[in-house]
């Protein structure tokens, strides 16, 4: 039997930590006692059947759901009571299951929006659009253009409106927008859902590069088990709002509870 810890092991070694997270909508219990810790620099995957509560976990981390119980720590700071925009500013970026890009805007404008939270100039100069705000804008633009666009290989489409792009590329633009926030942790909700084999492979490569070259911790939800097994460092399995296992991909794959959740129980 592989050793699978039910509780987080380290108290200070984590960049993102959930403690006893409970969430209910009215009488419907969505999450019960979810504990996990994400170590800096790892790819942490959350898997589970449909409706298991995976996206709810991301929404609690991002601040869109208010858990009934439990705390979320980010870089050892309790962020449970912060609004979603404050959490984003601290360095939590997010991509969505259903692409949430601004469809009428160009690729470049969408990406620039991601850097919004890092524009520190006050409202008045920004309104008047002069001096420091302008210089900041220019510096930001160069950084965005040269770095992230190159990194994700989207040079050719930067001036196109997002609505005109194929699905796989839209997903990539959404990722670029999240990276423009210069996050410490990137939360990805089904990054390869609906992608073909080639697009999936590209995305897997980008996620690995994000972790290795850009030193960003990745927390991802995914149904594509092959992708999970290939790229993640640790996997947490949830079912019916409860954590049923956690460990390396190999450990989790052989865990009886996981097999039961995915394949069903043998009839007795």
């Amino acid at each position: 039997m592989p050793q699978i810890t039910k509780r987080g092991r380290r108290r200070n070694g984590s960049i993102l930590k959930s403690e006893d997270l409970c969430l209910a909508f009215g009488g419907l219990s969505v999450l019960t006692h979810i504990d996990f810790e994400v170590a800096p620099g790892e790819i942490f995957a959350i898997i589970g059947p449909n409706g298991a509560g995976k996206t709810s976990i991301l929404n609690c981390i991002g601040g869109f759901y208010k858990p009934n119980r439990g705390q979320i720590y980010f870089q050892n700071q309790n962020i449970s009571r912060l609004t979603p925009d404050r959490r984003a500013q601290l360095g939590l970026a997010r991509t969505f299951q259903n692409i949430a890009l601004y469809r009428g805007m160009t690729v470049l404008d969408n990406i620039k929006l991601g850097a919004h939270s890092h524009l520190k100039t006050g409202i008045l100069p920004a309104l008047l659009y002069w001096g420091p705000a302008h210089r900041e804008e220019m510096a930001l633009r160069r950084e965005v253009e040269e770095e992230i666009i190159d990194f994700l290989e989207i040079e050719k489409i930067r001036k196109l409106p997002v609505a005109a792009l194929p699905y796989g590329l839209q997903k990539r633009v959404e990722l670029a927008r999240a990276l423009a926030m210069r996050p410490r942790v990137l939360l990805m909700d089904e990054p390869v859902a609906g992608m073909n084999a080639e697009e999936t492979e590209d995305m897997a490569r980008f996620i690995l590069d994000i972790k290795e070259e850009r030193d960003i911790t990745v927390v991802l939800i995914e149904h594509d088990i092959r992708l999970i097994m290939d790229i993640s460092d640790r996997v947490m399995v949830v079912n019916f709002g409860e954590k049923i296992a956690e460990g390396t991909p190999r450990e989790v794959q052989r865990h009886p509870e996981v097999i039961k959740a995915y394949l069903g129980e043998k009839k007795k």
Binding site: P84, D85, A88, Y102, R103, G104, L113, H116, A126, L127
Partner: protein, 294 residues
Amino acid sequence: MDILVQLIVSGIAVGGVYALIALGFVLIYKATSIINFATGEFMMIGAYFFYSFMVMADIPAIPAFLLVMCCAALLGFWVERAILRHMLGQPVISIIMVTIGLSSILMGMAEIVWSTDFKSFPPLFPRAPIVVGNIIIRSNLFWGFVIAMGAVSVFAVLFKYTKVGVAMRATANDQMAAFSMGINVRAMFTLAWALGAVAASLGGVIIGNMGGIQPTLGHIGLKIFPVVILGGLDSIAGAVIGGFIVGLVENIAGGYLDPYVGGGVKDLAPFVVLVFILMIKPYGLFGKEEIERL
């Protein structure tokens, strides 16, 4: 022919002012999805503020104008913080009822503070009309149009190019994504109300300057509904074009038909056109995904 050109020119001029008031409506709707039935009363209050500053406090026109903008912003800010923020997540019909209630409250307060008497501003512009060839425009209308278009342009630039403007557009587009970008969505709501109130009150000052003010001035706000619905409720460009259409329709229809039926066509015509357009295009002329929103 001269009559037609004359009617078109004054229609465009009035339309420009409508566009500004419509903008006050659109700014709020776009960011918060709230239909503000008190837009007309924001207008009326703006006009009364201007009257108070100029006539009662004896402040010169330009500082008074700037003061009106500040007060309107505060009014919008207060309305959002004190009233509408608590309505977040309530059914749309409740929120609409709140804005209708707000319009009655503002009108009642205006009656209490300024009485129901008709009042007018001291002359702000030279009385001589602007004459171009055979076309004559009243100077109040001409300058009103210039100021309205100036204000609309400032708002358009603000939305298109500034950081705050982009954040507001992002909020209007997708609140959850805006939150995830680190945009303070609630601050954007407040800002939308403040800016919406500023636009409406500037429109109120211009309208008040043309025809005098009384607490029912806000009823002109009703005309803004054809404007914004023609424009598609959430498009700034749509509001401007809708403003021009309504201004033109009411002037041309009024100019040609009023003599035959003894008046009233001017107020009726925009709504007739509105009904027809909605029958053909239920989302308004610009209420479509493909249109690039400002």
